[in-house]
């Protein structure tokens, strides 16, 4: 056996809890999946087309490590137009292989062995493992349905130790759909300042917020006074422009931090694939010119389906707080007397609907399920019918 070659520190990290469901669901033919974590739109045609043109034009070479300068310039404009924050495209922005790489780079560039990182729980499945792989110690901070799954300064206060180095700030949130408004972000900013924490702000869902005031949420964490020097802003093209498979993200940070992140990227990755960068450039340029038509169209469509899903869960008798970001609902299934795991397994086996158990996203997700409304309306309605039958059969 070759186990002896494997690093025990890696071996002790369990694989994503989502994986198992994928395996069961894969064997079923007519299962309806609410378990996906990506848009149901295909990348807009003009974006795909730009990438094809670039291939035909023979643009097949490396790009600079930090990405095409034209793309970084366009990212800088985008962030200042949409999120009220300005970054220097030469020194403070780098293009990565998805936002995932950017998270990993930020952690690896900043953590020292044993440093603690506050991670809201439930949260995206990668955060805690990436902290561990970077030699840090993830400290889960539970967020609660009654707080609409927002992290509060009090909770941070309780979790902070002399070893705390950073906090991961993932809003709008996957899996809960929670958002934070400016005032709430400011309270977190104060706590970060008080304890001198680095803030890794994962804003991949920033375009997908649904509030009556459409612009309420449109501010980057680093746009708050004093926050830019302690924030790594993470974003990407996957959610806003339906470009998940292109693996195109970016990080913005003070030049001293970005310099170190880029070093790891330079040696490990070289650069993000060129065609993805060309496509991203087209996405930002065209949308800047036409008033973010792609983003607005997709967001409207998600918003309608969001309301339908929320309404359906409440009618089924599941308690569900109103998610105002991303494309997930995170209802509680405690009233059924089942655990999330049992609920999802039986729902899949008996009624062929895929949902993800909430505790796949951390202990505090227990008693909940994650359902994605980036799903065709008619399939979604059929899934609700089956779920209702299931709940009534209990």
């Amino acid at each position: 056996m070759s186990n002896r070659f494997v690093n025990p520190a890696v071996a002790q990290v369990p694989p994503s809890g989502i994986r198992r469901f994928f395996d069961i669901a894969g064997t079923m033919k007519d299962a309806i999946s609410l378990g996906v974590g990506e848009p149901d739109f295909v990348t807009p045609y003009h974006i795909r087309s730009a990438a094809i043109d670039s291939i035909l034009d023979g643009e097949t070479q490396y790009t600079p490590n930090r990405g095409l300068l034209s793309l970084r310039q366009e990212i800088a404009r985008y962030l200042s137009d949409r999120f009220q924050v300005s970054y220097d495209p030469e020194q403070e922005i780098m293009v990565t292989v998805g936002a995932s790489e950017a998270i990993d780079l930020a952690l690896r560039a900043c953590l020292r062995p044993g440093d603690e990182v506050i991670v809201p729980d439930p949260g995206y499945v990668s955060y805690a493992p990436c902290v561990t792989f970077a030699g840090g110690v993830p400290v889960a901070v539970p967020t609660k349905a009654e707080d609409e799954f927002r992290i509060t300064p009090e909770e941070i206060e309780q979790a902070v130790t002399p070893k705390t180095r950073a906090i991961i700030f993932p809003y709008p949130n996957n899996p809960t759909g929670a958002v934070m408004n400016k005032a709430q972000m400011q309270a977190i900013a104060q706590a970060a300042e008080k304890h001198d924490l680095l803030v890794i702000s994962d804003e991949i869902y920033a375009e997908l917020t649904y509030t009556d005031d459409e612009d309420e949420q449109k501010i980057a964490f680093s746009a708050l006074p004093g926050m830019k020097e302690r924030t790594v802003l993470i974003n990407g093209f996957s959610k806003a422009f339906a470009m998940t498979g292109w693996r195109l993200g970016y990080a913005c940070a003070p030049k001293e931090i970005l310099y170190e992140m880029n070093k790891i990227h330079q040696y490990a990755i070289m650069c993000a694939p060129r065609q993805g960068q060309v496509a991203g450039l087209q996405a930002l340029k065209k949308n800047r010119e036409n008033g973010y038509e792609d983003v607005v169209t997709m967001r409207r469509s998600y918003d309608r389906r969001r309301r339908v899903m929320l309404d359906a869960f409440r009618k089924m008798g599941l308690s569900c707080f109103e998610p105002r970001g991303a494309f997930y609902c995170f209802p509680s299934i405690r009233s059924t007397g089942l655990t999330s795991e049992e609920f999802c397994t039986r729902l899949l086996k008996e009624h062929r609907v895929v949902c993800v158990p909430g505790d796949a996203f951390g202990k505090s997700g227990a008693g909940h399920i994650r359902c994605c409304y980036a799903t065709d309306m008619n399939r979604m309605l059929e899934a609700f019918k089956r779920m209702e039958q299931f709940i009534q059969s209990l």
Partner: protein, 163 residues
């Protein structure tokens, strides 16, 4: 903010069978508000009809279609409206558009057989006084209509579960 009416039109243009109750949920409005708005849209002839897009090629119905470019002499005071009216009243005519460019009217005609369609052109359309010329092109294959792609299958290419 998008107005309720424009939201309703967007929703119905995607699926005209969406029940009013669901439209109310989708837009976060009262059912009565939605019902009133739809009634107004119908009354103002913004919404003219609710009809499905049918791929007739997948049925056993015999059917041919042609696009006919028609040149006409416009009439004093009436412009093209009068002759367009003469043409669009035929049952065989499905659509009529006034066009810019080298001809005047684009007429979409449907018939059961090629012969029937040819007869329509030679016996009904061409003899009209103001019609000075026609050019008929038959539809061979329909790829996309009203935003709906007719060929191939659209499948969800996403994995069933992803983070």
């Amino acid at each position: 903010m998008q107005s309720l009416k424009s939201q309703i039109l967007e929703i119905l243009s995607e699926d005209c069978r969406t029940p009013l109750e669901r439209i109310a949920v989708m837009t976060g409005s009262d059912l009565t508000q939605v019902a009133e708005a739809v009634e107004e849209l119908e009354r103002d002839r913004v919404i003219l009809q609710y009809s499905p897009i049918i791929n007739w090629d997948r049925t056993d119905k015999e059917r041919v279609e042609a696009l006919i470019e028609v040149k006409v002499t416009p009439q004093r005071d009436m412009g093209f409206d009068s002759i367009a009216g003469r043409i669009y009243r035929f049952d065989e005519v499905k659509s009529v558009f006034l066009m810019s460019g080298s001809y005047d009217l684009m007429v979409l005609v449907e018939a059961r057989t090629l012969k029937e369609l040819a007869l329509f052109v030679s016996e009904k359309l061409s003899p009209l006084e103001s019609v000075t010329g026609t050019s008929t092109s038959f539809v061979l294959k329909r790829y996309k209509q009203d935003g709906v792609i007719f060929v191939g299958e659209t499948t969800d290419k996403r994995m069933v579960v992803s983070p």
